[in-house]
């Protein structure tokens, strides 16, 4: 995977057919739709920010428990990033984000359904118990990784762009 940040509003996001997640990143399965070999995921995202729109307002207000500092930090970082890169299309493309806390395993769970894609981020009590899963397309093309949520933040613009590219499949 190559992530090349070109400037603040444009991130080049490219996944090669030989997805090579290392360390905390793990590819799931071997079927084509998770290997990336059957889909062009090369992206040149160019997202316009429109101030004063907050797609994630409801999600921000939906947590009524005291989060640990790690969870609170990444909840805000993720929602800030989604707001930053999604505001230009928020008006006409219905999207809702749910954030909820699971008392059983002390995880913060974020699910975002946008068009025909689904993003789930689970923020555990620690980095190692955190992961994200992204499914897109008519049949599920899957990207996911475990651990490093800072890397995930860099991918959000690319994931948003994938939703645009795959939304005409159904």
């Amino acid at each position: 995977m190559m992530i090349q940040k070109t400037d603040q509003s444009q991130i080049k996001f490219e996944i090669t057919p030989e997805l090579n997640f290392t360390d905390n990143y793990a590819n799931i399965g071997t079927h084509p739709s998770t290997s990336g070999s059957d889909v062009d995921l090369s992206i040149n995202g160019n997202f316009q920010r429109k101030p004063n729109q907050k797609l994630t307002k409801n999600a921000r207000n939906s947590i009524h428990v005291s989060l640990n500092p790690f969870q609170n930090l990444y909840k805000n970082k993720i929602l800030d990033t989604i707001d930053k890169y999604f505001e230009d299309i928020a008006n006409d493309k219905i999207s809702e984000i749910d954030v909820s806390y699971d008392n059983d395993d002390e995880t913060l769970n974020l699910q975002w359904n946008i068009r025909n894609s689904t993003l789930i981020v689970v923020i555990g009590p620690t980095p190692g118990s955190s992961f994200w899963v992204f499914l897109s397309g008519k049949e599920d093309r899957v990207m996911r990784a475990k651990g490093d949520l800072d890397k995930f933040l860099l991918l959000i613009p690319g994931l948003i762009d994938i939703t645009e590219r795959t939304s005409t499949e159904n």
């Binding site: 799931i28 399965g29 689904t118 992961f131 899963v133 499914l135």
Partner: protein, 144 residues
């Protein structure tokens, strides 16, 4: 082997809805579910086809002990062929399956069955539950 067309999943509340879609949690087995021979079950109904209302009606009219509807947010319909597709695509034949399990008053009852090896890896079963939620083709609402 289930010789039915659709799977119906009851939705207890709006907490399981997300916009026009369904949250992945709707398909997650209860946290307190006790494994039976390594399998944890999540109840569903099976539906022969969309024209036969009985299976849907059983879920939509089911009531809790206090008289409230059990599935106030309705019933989600998933084509069985989509469940089979998910099993094949994710190569989870040994970790996820389904059965028919008729009970008194509900001959359409069955289960989605998660093996504990699948449930032991949260990102795996989250992905499976998310795929099931994405496979929902419609939600049928109770009349009240």
């Amino acid at each position: 082997m289930v010789n039915k067309k659709n799977c119906l999943k009851g939705l207890p509340s709006k907490d399981f809805l997300l916009g026009k879609g369904i949250k992945y949690k709707a398909f997650k087995p209860p946290n307190n579910a006790v494994p039976n021979n390594g399998w944890v079950e999540s109840s569903v109904n099976w539906e022969e086809d969309e024209t036969k209302q009985e299976s849907v009606n059983i879920l939509l009219t089911k009531r809790k002990d206090n008289g409230d509807l059990q599935f106030r947010a309705g019933v989600a319909r998933v084509p069985l062929k989509e469940i089979d597709r998910i099993i094949e695509q994710y190569e989870i034949e040994n970790q996820f399956k389904y059965n028919e399990d008729p009970i008194e008053g509900n001959k359409y009852h069955g289960n989605l069955q998660f093996h504990t090896t699948l449930l032991s890896i949260k990102e795996d079963y989250t992905q499976v539950c998310a795929a099931l939620a994405r496979a929902v083709v419609c939600r049928i609402l109770p009349s009240e």
